[in-house]
């Protein structure tokens, strides 16, 4: 096994319909069934940790790792508030979060663990935790989605996650909380009107799922930018960059599409990936396989590069590190 620390990876959607209202719509029920199949795979995986990257938790200052030991709240989704509230009581693994932050800093990233009472856990993370681990048996680590991080930075962030798992000896299910096409139907619809917003979004989603089904995770990662441009994939589909880096950037997976439907027009799929005999073989890489993040490439203003503040938290990021 190339990565013994990650026996299973999942792609899951982050909207609340499968949690709050699966009975109201066939599509929502189908996604809920996909979550339940995924939960069975989690239970059988032998993993002790859910390692989550959620596109619904944005960050600006580098990467944030959730380390609050306990967060208790009653959440109303900012978009689907009429579906009802979601009480939650989650425990997070502060030790793993701190180790992950340190491993990320070791690879040149700006990263920190955060632990604040009342911190707003995002809808996507809530849905994933509620449906994948309802009994709270697993340890949990969640990382934010930096709005400026492109592929190289996100890949390094994924590799740092593997470093953290290796260092702590954990075995994790890596979970990318992301929609496929993220375009909503921009009006209030009846459940009976549920459909993917655009036919071309649906066609792109199905193409991506075909690749997932063939276990071609790295191929999907390399197509992410195209998928984003053509079908408005969720947050550039960068969650799959992270997932591919965490599980291993190759195509030798057994892929299983556990569900595909729409949630308010977005493409919602539950996908499981385990290492296996893939059909496609290893891909050629279209970019460098980045090990260390050397900073943003500030092309517009040289003076900015000289003045970008350093912090104690990122001693490796000297000025040279930022500009090179």
């Amino acid at each position: 096994m190339r990565n013994p620390h990650v026996p299973l990876s999942l792609v899951v959607p982050g909207l609340p319909h499968p949690l709050l209202a699966p009975d109201r719509c066939e599509a929502w029920a189908h996604v809920r069934e996909g979550f339940e199949s995924a939960r069975a795979l989690v239970d059988a995986s032998g993993a002790d940790t859910l390692f989550i990257y959620s596109t619904q938790w944005p960050s600006v200052l580098g990467h944030q790792m959730q380390g609050a030991q306990r967060l208790v709240w009653t959440h109303a989704c900012p978009e689907f508030h009429e579906l009802g509230s979601i009480p939650y009581d989650f425990a997070f693994d502060a030790g793993l979060a701190e180790t992950y932050a340190q491993c990320a800093r070791n690879r040149g990233l700006h990263a920190r663990m955060i632990a604040y009472a009342g911190f707003p856990v995002d809808t996507g993370t809530i849905v994933a935790l509620k449906l994948l681990d309802p009994a709270r048996k697993m340890r949990v680590c969640v990382v934010s989605s930096n709005m400026y991080a492109d592929r190289a930075e996100t890949i390094v962030l994924g590799k740092a996650a593997v470093d953290a798992l290796r260092e702590t000896g954990r075995k994790a299910v890596a979970v990318a909380v992301t929609a496929l096409s993220a375009r909503m139907i921009p009006s209030v619809i009846e459940p009976s009107e549920e459909r993917v917003a655009l036919a071309r979004d649906d066609e792109w989603n199905r193409k991506i799922l075909e690749l997932f089904r063939e276990g071609r995770l790295e191929d999907v990662a390399q197509l992410a930018r195209t998928f984003y441009r053509e079908a408005r994939a969720d947050q550039k589909f960068k969650a799959v960059w992270w997932l591919s880096a965490v599980h291993g950037g190759h195509n030798e997976y057994q892929g299983e599409v556990l569900a595909y439907a729409s949630l308010q027009g977005t493409g919602a799929a539950v996908v499981a990936l385990r290492e296996g005999e893939g059909l496609a073989g290893d891909p050629e890489f279209d970019e460098d396989d980045v090990e260390f993040f050397r900073g943003e490439r500030s092309v517009l203003s040289p003076t900015v590069r000289q003045a970008t503040p350093q912090t104690e938290a990122s001693p490796a990021l000297g000025v040279a590190g930022i500009v090179s």
Partner: protein
Amino acid sequence: MTHGRIVAGALAPHPPHLVYAENAPQNEPRAECGWEELRWGYERLRKSLESKPYDVIIVHTPHWRTGRGHHVLAHPHFSGLSVDPVFPHLFRYRYDVKVDVPLAELVVEEARAAGLTSMPMRNPDFRIDYGTLVSCHMVRPQWDVPVVAVSSSSCYDDFSVEVGDAQMTALGVATRKAIARSGRRALLLASCSLSHRHFTQEPAVPEDMTHEHIYNYNQYLWDMRMLGHLRAGRTKRVVEESPDFVEQASSETRAGSLTWLLAALGFPTEPATVHAYGTVIGTGNAVVEIPPSTGV
């Protein structure tokens, strides 16, 4: 019922750093100082608004993003703790907010009459976003008037900046009609920055102003161009140049707040007053008071 009216509008950016640096009693973290130019600009705005009494604040906020049109807070009272998911070390704010529900319902009604998708937000567990809280706090820290908060629709991303601006223009006009029907004297806030590219690191002491400056010269030039238009009363020009501004300066006006405000004010040709311009973690922010058009 008295015919309602807009007493003033303001570009009122929402970096949580400002409430942090104010050492607002509602906010848990403490600061030594920081971002004085913007905070003093808000002080000048508050002073100016003393001569323009208002019954309600209507705020359009980029940090309540919605995909199904335009949502409006429509529950009478919210209280709780707002922790900024992006800057949690700076903003952990206890709020107690009253909402003008009748006016909120009118905004929804007029928006729908204009052909827009709009819905009231009535879930009492809803956590108010920090855009709403920061802008309202900086303008009216005593929290003694009710608010109506309007979400930021993803129409700019779903379609284009042009489509987004068209929707926000319609929403602005609908908001003005709702105010007129309500009989209220309303203050309107566009809770957004101008240029909006952030640094992705901050100094060990966040309020260490030796590190604070605009992200790049390009953003600065764009910010000055837009402020020049506002100071000269060229409000339609602001919207006409909006697609380029959004694309070239990563402007937060992409959330629609400024277009909504200018449309609600009737695209005034009277000069706006720039109370302050300053940067926050590299983004360009201005506190600007904009009078309503005398023609509406």
